[in-house]
Symmetry: C2
Subunit: 346 residues, 2 copies
């Protein structure tokens, strides 16, 4: 790989060929006033002939915007690989970035403190023009950092978690409530939930909502909740422990906080000789294609993760261009019944 000395073509070459100054070329390419239509056209033609495009690096240095947005994701690598959610989310974000010829700077981190430091160095080094923040926890340091730096960000999470930052969020509480009501309507009176990481803000929201929804049922129902780390293994363990009890002490329906755990739950039921949905109903969250690949297929609270990512990216651009803080709810996940839920037969 001998580095061919690629003859870099710069703004100067374009200017020379169009017979104007560098400044004129810059004006043309930034669609700023002060150039005749003829000159503008001549400049564009020259640029086209030379195959020139302005260097983002130089642009950034010269003080204009930065065409890169950051995303730091904080989960152990093994889990990330498994969660369909993120890749789909990223692809949604990308779809919007591409339109504005922006790029995504991705980094896996091990905690919010590391992420906070990363945001600071990204921003101070002018590496990013804004950032997407996910996975909020209690006492999250990131809102304070973003505010201190003046870094444009959009937070993915309920406004109660995101410290006043512009946020985009799904109404998890309503979705959980709907799930519980649905199961109750099927006749379930012993309902469990295998939740995500307890430290995560949205897990807390779902936990509370689940609690409230079950409490509101009439006739009253019995409820269980378990926290996990979102991994399939944890989902399997939780399911196993829930289902080992004898029937009257055993849930007849289980709600999972993601689809991986639901898949794991399904296989645990099979391994224990329980029929799904006759002996136990299973309901997943984050409906990915995975839910349609199991047998029986998994009922799920589904939402458009790709579209969600796109919304987040669009909102980030609004923030970057100076819109005030806001809260953008996206459609509540809707229940998609499939083969894993039915009235209890026991």
């Amino acid at each position: 790989m001998t580095a061919t000395p690629t003859p870099r073509v710069t703004i100067k070459d374009v200017a020379a060929r169009a017979g104007v100054s560098k400044g004129a070329v810059s004006l043309a390419f930034n669609r700023k006033p002060g150039l005749s239509e003829a000159t503008r056209e001549r400049i564009f033609r020259a640029a086209r002939e030379l195959g020139w495009a302005p260097s983002p690096t130089a642009r950034t240095l010269a003080g204009s915007r930065v065409d890169v947005v950051g995303l730091a994701v904080c989960r152990p690598a093994r889990l990330l690989g498994l969660e369909p959610f993120y890749m789909e989310f990223v692809s949604g974000v990308e779809s919007v970035l591409v339109e504005r010829s922006c790029s995504l700077l991705l980094r896996l981190v091990r905690g919010q403190d590391e992420e906070a430091g990363l945001l600071e160095s990204w921003w101070r080094g002018r590496q990013i023009g804004g950032s997407i923040l996910v996975d909020f926890r209690a006492d999250d340091p990131r809102p304070a950092v973003a505010r201190r730096l003046g870094l444009p960000v959009v937070a993915v999470g309920h406004p109660s978690l995101t410290g006043g930052l512009t946020s985009v969020w799904t109404d998890d509480a309503t979705a959980v409530t709907e799930a519980v009501r649905y199961l109750a309507a099927l006749g379930h009176r012993r309902i469990a939930r295998v939740g995500g990481a307890a430290a995560l803000g949205h897990t807390a929201i779902r936990t509370a909502a689940f609690d409230g929804a079950v409490r509101a049922l009439e006739p009253p129902a019995r409820a269980w909740q378990v926290a996990t780390d979102f991994s399939g293994d944890a989902g399997a363990r939780a399911t196993r422990s829930l289902l080992t009890a004898a029937p009257p002490e055993r849930p007849t329906a289980i709600v999972y906080d993601n689809d991986i755990m639901a898949v794991a739950g399904l296989s645990v039921a099979a391994e224990m000789g329980l029929r799904v949905p006759d002996d136990v109903s299973l309901l997943a969250w984050d409906d990915s294609q995975l839910c349609r690949l199991t047998h029986p297929t998994l009922s799920a609270m589904s939402h458009d993760v790709h579209g969600f990512g796109a919304d987040v990216a669009r909102t980030l651009f609004e923030v970057i261009t100076g819109e005030g803080p806001g809260s953008h709810p996206v459609p509540t996940p809707v229940l998609t019944p499939r083969g894993s839920t039915a009235p209890p037969k026991v």
Copy 2:
């Protein structure tokens, strides 16, 4: 989000505080000779006190290296979300990048031509210092582009596919052969393979290897091969069509090119009332956690995707620092027998 006018601290501030010139600071931070130990120390102290770090943008513009590597991935968004492989691969790449404070620029593209254009604009715009190339096809335009540009790249794929670029690859042919021999040793004589996208180079390699391996069996065996798009749906369709034949015309073992399709195959078998592994054995590829979550658990050709990503990243750095083309095989996937494979009982 009123952008606080963050007072940017630059190399000039550090120089002033240390009582030296900009040049000296630069020398210190690039560990170049020509500074006394005392001065060097004084400069670092000043930088530390001011919380300064050199701006990557300015560094790039000034002609030194670029601390970003590119990765363009070309699959429909829906599939990407599902394939555990990529996220895990990315996390492996990241693990190495972080050590060298590099970042990953990620982009989803729709074809190699789009990717080739992207590489060119990334490189000419000095946005990346090198790139990782995945998913090689016949007549892939990317090697030529990389060579023409002098862009340092590392190709993920067998040397026969990557047009002389430095490549990192798993020995798929051997792995496929091993899979076939294993199934044959269990007693299978009717073996099918649900392959990936036919246009992909490594799919072709596996197809040929499968063919050869089956042909070499003694006593002779019957073989089927189907191409898919890697999606679970396609895997399900392929499985369904393979298993609808009457027993003597039906494979007793199926090998899948990724784990998603194997999961889908498992559920199709269940849906058709076939027992796994008694009626049909299933063998996955790209062993992710998913394979341990099904019931029965999926036997798989497993390899360390995270480590693979790390190897690729390390190799890219070698290329960037000027090593010649090379070929770096990584360990061949090994067979991990689990519950989905057994001697045929029919």
